[in-house]
Point group: C2
Chain length 358, copies 2
């Protein structure tokens, strides 16, 4: 049978510790060259949805033979670029029927090629981001780290905390985000979920002052953490490049990135109202940070390089780019747990295979 | 609803003339830069299937905004490389449950992103190859061409003939392939299907002598058509590079290729028993034919270049590489016809979409 799972299924089946463990094993495979990843590709065209929107068909592949799976993650997006204040934001529109987004993971067996499962990417998308930064914490933060300062309370913030709490004995968290009410609601929810105090604070400085781990989990394309806030022994963590001021990155004794994979393959059709993410592009050029010179997370996990030499060092982990590989690794756990639990809709595998030679 | 279609559905729903018309329209879009394609990628790893086998996860994307669709074609293959005689062959194993292959096309709407259909790639795979060479015939063969010499009687041969017969008033076909019995069975079947004489002949020279159109539709990695067989006014057609002797290609007045897309992105894991197709690689290097210098089929169809200037010219079309784009173009017709016919299994689109932001 081929399983069709929902985001609810994924949420119930995959715990953060399981997700972290699967990625950890998979990254060792990647460091050793036994696990492989194909960089993301974005095909961008006009859409009839609206004149200022674009259509994007995006895909990324990865195979983890040790876990017996290959995965392809596909996004079929309607995207607009509204001006919010002075900033142009990239906004995905839930334009599919019933106001829904379209992101899918297809999981295949490396043993016999069969399609094992199809499930939406939304819940796993943020879990794998969290798990990846969690592994950054595990391999780079002080072993005795107990406090987190979180910048951001949006859709990526939650899994940043659950992941960090899965790898360190965290006792206290402070968080800040621009809209006070959002931040307070987030803090209340996370306090209950994690069973430790999560405190909303009015200023970003208040969130990060004196903490062991700084986590940037925002959707900002401008720096939100600055060199002047760096303290000895801190671990800095970011889910995208521009969050941490380049001077702060340069001030760290150890810096690691998620991957050395190159930028996505970008194919843009004539007439597509496509705006390059100029802020991020500008950030790259202006700061002359060559990410290839930093070790990648798999190299840390496989033990080729150390993430930290002593408790006084400042460390920094930049989750610079996602990989289809992560969907394969975590997908292997989701599939296994789904089979055990009898979850999802079971469809005949014959519907997704063929007797005709392809 | 999202439709799950079978190869039988595809075969019933898509006629060769429809497939040719959809590709023709899509190629104009491509020539004008409005339709786009992402080159194929192959992720190759070991598999537990057997020591001498490899696992391959392959994908290619394409979007045709004018037809309202994007498509991704995925293959999840177990492949072996047995020695057959003196030649090492690349053999896909139907290793999935019930001895089946795994190749899928996912079709999405560029209007709202929704997943429209999922169907196996096998039937469409050979139809789009045939349709592409058919368009080569339409734009390069003599308008009064009436005879075809076909080399090959295997799984690609049939659609080569149906496509050519869809664009020219073909009256007589001769075919040759190494195993006489196969060739005779093929000839008998195609005679009935096409309603014109299809004659199996003992020697390749007999098949191609005096014909208007030579079609190579074999699985050979060695040349099967030679310069000494070229006659004035002939159109030469091939489904892969090495079939036509380079000297014969060079003897043609007009040569066109399917695409200028670069070779597939190849990512190979350590330990994969992967054999590069050295014959084809050697062919490229040895013959110094720079395919970028030949016009591509979309340029012919859009009228940027002519395929033939007079009836005496020898023309040559090389179907050098497939594109995900073809699956989008033909997929748009399959989907439209499937909706009209109420074909396939209808599943709730909500199963393949999400409320969670991806």
């Amino acid at each position: 049978m081929t399983l069709i799972l929902s985001n609810d299924d994924v949420e119930k089946l995959l715990t953060m510790p399981d997700c972290i463990a699967a990625l950890e094993e998979a990254y060792v495979e990647m460091a050793e060259g036994r696990g492989i990843s194909r960089q993301r590709s974005d095909c961008i065209t006009p859409t009839t949805y609206s004149d200022d929107a674009i259509y994007g068909l995006k895909s990324m592949d990865g195979v983890v033979p040790k876990l017996g799976v290959g995965a392809i993650r596909i996004n079929s997006d309607i995207v607009t670029n509204p001006l919010v204040g002075n900033t142009r934001r990239r906004v995905k529109i839930p334009a599919a029927p019933n106001d829904r987004y379209v992101g899918l993971v297809l999981l295949f067996s490396t043993h016999n090629g069969e399609p094992l499962a199809i499930f939406p990417d939304g819940v796993l998308q943020r879990m794998r981001v969290g798990a990846t930064n969690g592994l950054g914490v595990k391999y780079m933060a002080r072993a005795n780290a107990q406090t987190i300062g979180l910048l951001g309370s949006g859709w990526q913030a939650e899994t940043q905390l659950t992941a960090a709490c899965a790898v360190r004995d965290i006792r206290h968290i402070r968080c800040h985000s621009p809209t006070r009410a959002n931040c307070e609601a987030f803090a209340a929810r996370m306090s209950e979920q994690l069973g430790i105090p999560v405190e909303a604070v009015a200023q970003p400085e208040d969130a990060v002052k004196g903490v062991d781990i700084v986590m940037c989990g925002s959707n900002s394309l401008d720096p939100i953490f600055f060199q002047r806030w760096v303290e000895p022994g801190m671990h800095l963590s970011s889910i995208k490049k521009p969050e941490i001021e380049p001077a702060a990155i340069k001030a760290a004794h150890k810096v690691a990135v998620h991957t050395h994979d190159t930028s996505p393959i970008l194919v843009v059709a004539k007439g597509a109202n496509f705006r390059e993410n100029t802020k991020e592009a500008g950030w790259n050029a202006a700061n002359a940070l060559d990410f290839k010179t930093f070790p990648a997370l798999p190299q840390l996990i496989a033990g080729y390089v150390s993430g930290r030499d002593d408790d006084a060092q400042v460390t920094c982990f930049l989750n610079n780019l996602g990989l289809g590989y992560q969907f394969a690794a975590a997908g292997s756990v989701i599939y296994k747990r789904a089979v055990e639990a009898g979850a999802g809709h079971s469809l005949p595998t014959d519907w997704f295979t063929e007797t005709v030679h392809p």
